[in-house]
């Protein structure tokens, strides 16, 4: 394993110290392990927090700021945060109007957030939980833990964050967050595995001429393994999975993200985006807004995830609203 580390045990603490040093707009509590806005909000608004394992940067800490999250609680690498941390983030985000928890649908995340929500409820903080489960590679059935939360998390945090910023109430913010999730689908393909600092070895061995299809964001193997094909063909597989799960009409307008999993050059992400946009153009579907880059990563994994959200006018307006965070910044 070759990584920039001091010790595998201190990777999170050391990275948080760096995050704090790099972004004066953020306030990083190294003891409680939470990231909050350094300045405000100073008025009553619905708080929005999220959290999950580390290793997905800029998710979630990079999305703390005006127009998006109020606080984030990063767990150890690929490990959900603990209830104490989530409770601390909930308290920090509470301005008296309640707090929305945005939780990616993984067994551990759901359990820890649920425990924290109960503790917050005991303190009189109203909490609404929104689960993100957009990954169509996993079928939601009695044979799985349900769909995974992946790329749509960025859409949910941006749009719900903007709605909270404009003064929506607790149920209103939770409602639009759920609507964005319900309208979003993702699919991911990996060219290489990734190595967690604690294990020191890649999560799986993949021959040079093979790819993992239907991967998540935790270095686990995907649904199946296939021979490496051209980008057009790989994108066709992914888009087929996405569009067969949620068929789109030519009248639909979409927000589309091509997201790098950590080790994919931007050159290739744009190449993939070109193929995605060709598939959608072919079906007459409008791509209204786009995002290309590394937003929900899986350490150094080479791979790409595609997320398509069928957006209504309100979602698009909220998408366009000003946002000022380390990883997303426009209109301000």
């Amino acid at each position: 394993m070759k990584k920039f580390l001091n010790s595998p045990d201190t990777v999170l603490a050391d990275a948080l110290a760096g995050l704090a040093a790099a972004h004066p707009d953020l306030s990083v509590d190294l003891d409680q392990r939470i990231i909050t806005r350094a300045h405000g909000p100073h008025r009553a608004k619905v708080g929005l927090i999220s959290g999950g394992g580390s290793g997905h940067e800029p998710l979630h800490g990079g999305f703390v700021g005006a127009g998006m999250l109020d606080a984030a609680c990063p767990g150890e690498v690929f490990t959900s945060p603990v209830p104490d941390q989530i409770l601390a983030a909930t308290r920090a985000a509470d301005r008296g109007a309640g707090v929305v928890h945005i939780v990616k649908n993984y067994t551990g995340d759901v359990m820890n957030f649920q425990m924290a929500a109960e503790l917050a409820g005991d303190e009189g903080i109203a909490v609404r939980t929104v689960l993100v489960d957009d990954d169509v590679a996993v079928q939601d059935s009695t044979y799985t833990a349900g769909r995974r939360g992946t790329g749509a998390t960025v859409f949910v945090e941006k749009i719900a964050g903007a709605h909270a910023e404009e003064g929506a109430d607790l149920d209103g913010v939770a409602e639009i967050a759920r609507r964005v999730n319900a309208a979003s689908r993702s699919f991911a393909v990996a060219l290489t595995a990734c190595t967690t600092p604690a294990s020191g070895r890649p999560g799986f061995d993949l021959p040079d001429d093979e790819i993992e299809v239907g991967v998540g964001i935790h270095g686990e193997p995907g649904r199946r393994r296939e021979k490496l094909a051209g980008a057009k063909e790989i994108v066709a597989t992914a888009m087929d999975a996405i569009l067969s799960d949620q068929p789109l009409d030519p009248a639909d307008r979409t927000i589309v993200m091509v997201n790098g999993l950590g080790g994919t050059p931007l050159l290739e992400l744009y190449l993939v985006f070109g193929e995605v946009s060709a598939v959608l153009a072919d079906k007459g579907i409008t791509v209204a807004r786009t995002l290309v880059g590394n937003y929900v990563t899986s350490l150094e994994m080479a791979g790409v995830s595609i997320t398509v959200c069928r957006a209504d006018e309100q979602m698009l307006a909220l998408w366009d609203a000003p946002v000022r965070t380390p990883a997303l910044r426009w209109g301000c």
Partner: protein, 207 residues
């Protein structure tokens, strides 16, 4: 079981986890996200610190403290699941010295807590697949007139067999379930750590 034995149990678990950290991580790497070993080591190491701080009168106090510490330090699904289990076990051991029957009902409370929180049933390739046969074997041994040490020894064997039996199962809960049929052929890391916990109980009860 008194407070000293409960403490010895937690210390033995911590030592066993420490010794098997790499094994747990490698098992988790095959069908999960390669963090189970490190998370369990961090959790039980935090338990040793938490128990060192305070004099605790009953086995229940020791195990409730252990559970609370696991919830605060492990993360993932293992934190809430093992944390809730130890809290439930501890709550059922209020007196200063529990007999074997009481330990059985406490272990059963722990299993109920795990099943309630994780909604897993036997065959899902989880902690439950080691925990369920362990409790059954513990009970069987008591019926047959055995004491705490014999019951714990049988429970450990049953937990280990249960953990091995997860190899052929397809995961239906937790992160391994995302792999579908590809989860078959790998032993479940959670069932494996459960077997370590029961083996530790067997070790300290014969001392």
């Amino acid at each position: 079981m008194d407070a000293a034995l409960a403490r010895a149990w937690v210390q033995a678990i911590a030592a066993a986890i420490d010794e098997h950290t790499d094994q747990l991580t490698q098992l988790d790497s095959a069908i999960g996200d390669a963090d189970h070993g490190a998370n369990m080591r961090r959790g039980f190491s935090a338990c040793l610190d938490a128990l060192a701080d305070t004099p605790l009168e009953t086995p229940g106090d020791v195990l409730v403290r252990t559970g609370a510490t696991l919830i605060s330090s492990v993360g993932g699904a293992a934190g809430p699941l093992y944390g809730s289990a130890f809290r439930a076990i501890g709550r059922a051991l209020a007196g200063p010295d529990a007999g074997a029957e009481q330990v059985l009902s406490a272990l059963t409370e722990g299993l109920t807590a795990v099943k309630r929180l994780g909604a897993a049933v036997p065959g899902d390739k989880t902690i439950v697949d080691a925990y369920t046969p362990a409790v059954a074997a513990f009970e069987q041994e008591l019926w047959e007139g055995g004491g705490l040490a014999a019951a714990a020894a049988h429970a450990a064997e049953a937990a280990e067999a249960g953990a091995r039996a997860t190899t052929t199962m397809q995961a239906r809960k937790g992160r391994a379930s995302y792999l579908g049929p590809r989860s078959v052929g790998h032993q479940d890391p959670g069932a494996t750590s459960t077997a370590l916990i029961f083996r530790a109980l067997a070790e300290v009860t014969v001392r």
